[in-house]
């Protein structure tokens, strides 16, 4: 990634570079000066978009989590598919996204684990968004008669909690196990059956 100060300095470019710098230096060492240097700009230019190192770290964490949200939102919004199918596909896409993040680039994943612990507000908003998406799918299933739930938000939260083993980063080490796919399928089937009318 060569310095290219001629391109306009957008927040997205700064965040992309921040992720690169975090990957290279690790979460404790990466500074705003490192990010500015990698971009070929002054650190003042970075501060114009992100007023502090904490703000920059928070924004890069948000961006990382938002990638998963966007992917899942597509499934949530696919109203032509029956809700039980969508629910299964959604849970599989979440597990898939998390497993790839953890397995494909373990250093970056470890870096973000540190950032997540620092930015609990961002994480809470992310989890609330995921549970809200589950709630939308369940709600549509209840309307079309393919799912049953007396309290949709509670059911959405229960589905999220019951599948925690397959998205909570605490379990990342187990996602490489040879039996994890079968375990995921069994829990997902149980949970979807639990919402049958």
């Amino acid at each position: 990634m060569p310095p290219a100060a001629a391109e306009p300095l957008t927040p997205e470019r700064i965040l992309e570079t921040t992720e690169e710098v975090l990957r290279r230096y690790g979460p404790t060492k990466a500074t705003v000066v490192d990010v500015a240097r990698a971009l070929g700009v002054s650190h003042g230019s970075v501060y114009r978009h992100f007023p502090s190192k904490a703000a920059l770290r928070e924004a890069v964490t948000e961006r990382w989590l938002a990638r998963t949200e966007v992917r899942l939102r597509e499934i949530t919004a696919a109203g032509d598919r029956p809700a039980p199918d969508r629910l299964e596909a959604w849970l599989e896409a979440l597990f898939d996204a998390k497993r790839h993040k953890a397995g494909d680039d373990p250093e970056l994943f470890a870096t973000y684990t540190v950032l997540l612990a620092e930015n609990s507000g961002v994480v809470e908003t992310h989890l609330a968004e995921l549970v809200a998406q589950l709630g939308e799918i369940i709600d549509e299933g209840v309307s079309e008669g393919s799912l049953a739930a007396t309290d949709v938000p509670a059911a959405a939260r229960a589905v999220f909690d019951a599948t925690g083993r397959f998205h909570d980063p605490q379990y990342a080490a187990e996602w490489q196990s040879p039996t994890i796919g079968a375990e995921f399928a069994a829990v997902t089937a149980l949970v979807v059956r639990g919402l049958r009318p």
Copy 2:
């Protein structure tokens, strides 16, 4: 706990004292000599029952886990109760046992967390026993027609995995949350519904 060398030195007495010593000195500092001193016997007498410090630590870990198993076994064996009821009662008793262990004596719980990490074989046997008990309940439910499962061991494992938030010590900090009871009830209801015929 005054030294009382006159009583016969049983493995159970040694383990009881080991737990006391661990509670007092913490998992890194407690030695076989400390245990022998608390019992008023020579460390040779302790070694006659437990050939090494590692064996003693393993046995005390087993004993701690066995207490929960025994309590759950009573529910598993209560064949006069319908299987869905027993399943709910079993999950509640497990959560209750874990929550009390974590909340009533946090230092001892932290000590055992260290011991559990050291004795992964003992933990695996314990988890297998718990899943086997769930399997027995589900199997009887299938026989009496109150539950459905095509693969009982897989269903038992799925129930255990789906309720991990309420028994995996990784989540101990969340067990004091004011909403945890409602979350537990929602996941349990979902899981039991998922096994309806």
